[in-house]
């Protein structure tokens, strides 16, 4: 006969939680698109460092606003003119208030009878204005220009591209023709023409960027929209009678986001370069207002004798450009791993 096995509740033991059915499963935690890209971006050291540099610059440039009085940036103080950098407690030549004059290091602060407790971290320019403050303000201008260019890229560029690709047919042809015309005039000529009509300064630079910066973005968005348009989920949305606006916001824009982010990162350095370039040749922002281009132009005149006046803004501008370029490359690799080499 069968042996009777006595089973009571003690014979059974509940499994430990960790040994649930799931432990047979082989899967990474499912990541959203952004998390995935962020993970890849984190592996790129250059891009992470650049991201930090950009963030620091943004914080310093915009955080300084309450501390840097614009009036003192413009007002000259001739008795402090052309002082080299001086940081208290640092005795490296070039940062201790000494300047190389005819091969010898001379303490410019003592020579000009500057009060003992007065010092300028990066020295002063030819009108005695603090170079450090002017550089920070100039960086802010560069970043504002970058922000504005990004804004037009994201609004006009994206909207234009989507409309052109979505509508197709005659509308598309006309819109593409317009882009072709805009982009076959050198950007610089557009900028110059805008500067002539408006007064040289921030407004005209911004207007010029508004006209010319978004064409590349619009082209890329249009090309991608054309291929997205025939995707099943878009067709489904259309069949269900979704309005074109909602389709573009809910279905197209999320799928275009990698292109948008990558292209934006290429627009930024271009815009920063443009502002510096225009101010440098004297048709952008001009003295006594300040920007990195203005500082470079001022510094270049005295480069032989006071090299620091050009070097500091040049370094800041180059670091800014390098950081944005590296970050752009990193983001491209992160969002579009197929192109990665």
């Amino acid at each position: 006969m069968e042996e009777k096995i006595k089973l009571n509740s003690d014979s059974f033991q509940p499994l430990a939680k960790s040994e649930s059915l799931d432990n047979e499963k082989i899967a990474a935690p499912s990541l959203t698109f952004l998390q995935d890209a962020w993970m890849r971006l984190k592996k790129n050291k250059g891009a992470v460092v650049s991201l930090f540099i950009v963030l620091i610059m943004v914080v310093v440039a915009f955080g300084s606003t309450p501390f840097i009085d614009h009036n003192s940036l413009v007002k000259s103080a001739p008795k402090y003119a052309n002082l080299p950098a001086k940081i208290p407690g640092v005795s490296i030549n070039g940062f201790n208030g000494k300047l190389k004059v005819a091969g010898k290091w001379v303490d410019e602060y003592r020579q000009n009878n500057v009060p003992k407790d007065k010092y300028f971290v990066l020295g002063t320019d030819y009108l005695g204005r603090s170079l450090a403050e002017r550089i920070i303000y100039g960086t802010k201008i560069s970043l504002i220009v970058a922000l504005v260019a990004t804004f037009f890229d994201l609004t006009i560029g994206v909207a234009y591209g989507i409309i052109s690709g979505w509508k197709g047919g005659r509308v598309d042809t006309i819109m593409q023709r317009i882009i072709e015309i805009i982009s076959s005039v050198p950007n610089l000529v557009i900028v110059v023409l805008m500067l002539l009509v408006l007064k040289p300064g921030m407004t005209s630079i911004i207007c010029a960027i508004a006209i010319s910066s978004w064409t590349t973005m619009a082209r890329m968005i249009r090309a991608e929209t054309l291929s997205l348009k025939s995707q099943e989920y878009v067709l489904a949305a259309r069949t269900l009678g979704e309005s074109p606006l909602k389709i573009s916001l809910k279905h197209l824009v999320p799928n275009l986001s990698s292109i948008i982010i990558i292209q934006t990162m290429y627009t930024i350095p271009t815009a920063i370069f443009f502002e510096a370039f225009l101010s440098f040749i004297g048709i952008g922002i001009s003295s006594p207002q300040t920007s990195l281009g203005v500082l470079l132009n001022d510094g270049q005149k005295n480069f032989q004798f006071l090299p620091y006046q050009m070097w500091y803004p040049a370094i800041v501008l180059c670091v800014l450009m390098i950081a944005f370029n590296l970050l752009g490359d990193g983001l491209r690799d992160a969002f579009d791993p197929k192109t990665r080499r």
Binding site: S184, V185, N187, L193, L196, F277, F280, I281, F303, R341
Partner: protein, 309 residues
């Protein structure tokens, strides 16, 4: 093909016509007048000046005259240099700019190809890293900063080349480098990417199996195929060189178009500004058309878009 060409040329002319129109009317909106010492001039003098330059006619007449003149190669008379036609001003200065631009393009593309292919062959080694760093820096450092540094350290301190001005070949070396570094960096990145792709393909594997030398493979097989897309970059390079020439010619005091353009802007010399604008636009449009055609010829896989329509 012919239909495509005709269509493209038609759009080209249309574009230039629109540019001319827009430029003309923008100029008319411009504040300021070309007579810098106007305060001292009597009403009569201003009237005579206006008559001489045709500024007293209604705007639409000025426009018609301008467009017709342009069709005959007459770009008006410069305000800045009395009685000098703009076309003469441009033609006397275009030589220096063209030479500089061509040299910079050749310098940038040539060295860019070399650096890019060396990086691709030695992929993921220190050589590759170095060339990547060089091209990032070359792309990021603005050319006018580089120009000032070159001028000071190479020309003034070391005395290897003339500091400024325009004479023989030695005068062109530094401006060429300053202008060409941007294209160089871009080319190096582009060639490296293309080359890495090509080097991984099957026919390169076959060439290696055949026992071809490394140089033979790169020179005969890889380079040619990775260079074709480079043609598309010529358009953007032209723009970069036009932009760059404005500031580089200024720094090195080269009597070229770019330098004149900046000067004309600063003194409100409308006819010259319009002339140079037209020149830049025409040059760019022509080069874009040319590269599209050349691209279609050297890479038959690319069908010229619209050729069927």
């Amino acid at each position: 093909m012919r239909k495509y060409l005709l269509k493209r040329v038609f759009y080209m002319v249309l574009t230039l016509f629109l540019v001319a129109t827009i430029t003309f009317f923008l100029m008319k909106l411009m504040p300021g007048t070309p007579y810098s010492n106007q305060q001292k001039m009597t009403q009569q003098q201003i009237q005579i000046m206006n008559q001489q330059y045709g500024l007293n006619k209604p705007i639409w007449q000025q426009y018609v005259i301008y467009i017709f003149g342009m069709l005959h190669g007459d770009l008006g008379t410069s305000f800045q240099f009395s009685n000098q036609p703009v076309s003469y001003l441009i033609s006397s200065r275009i030589g220096a700019s063209a030479q500089l631009g061509a040299q910079a393009m050749i310098f940038g593309v040539f060295f860019g190809i070399i650096i890019g292919s060396i990086a691709a062959i030695n992929r993921n080694t220190w050589i590759d890293t170095t060339s990547t760093v060089v091209s990032i820096i070359g792309k990021s450092v603005p050319n006018f900063v580089l120009a000032v540094l070159l001028q000071y350290y190479i020309a003034l301190k070391l005395g290897w080349f003339p500091i400024a001005d325009w004479g023989g070949f030695s005068y062109t070396v530094l401006p060429t480098i300053a202008l060409g570094v941007g294209p160089l960096a871009e080319t190096a990145r582009f060639v490296r990417t293309g080359m890495v792709d090509v080097l991984n393909s099957d026919y390169i594997e076959l060439a290696r199996a055949k026992g071809l030398s490394k140089f033979g493979i790169v020179y005969h097989h890889a380079l040619r195929n990775s260079l074709i897309p480079l043609v598309t970059l010529i358009g953007p390079y032209t723009v970069a060189l036009m932009t760059g020439s404005m500031v580089i010619e200024n720094i090195f005091s080269i009597p070229g178009i770019g330098e004149q353009f900046v000067k004309s802007i600063l003194v409100n010399d409308y006819p010259t500004i319009m002339g140079v604008t037209m020149l830049f636009s025409a040059g760019l449009v022509a080069i874009i058309l040319l590269t599209d055609i050349v691209y279609g010829i050297i890479d038959p896989r690319i069908r010229l878009s619209g050729s069927e329509g």
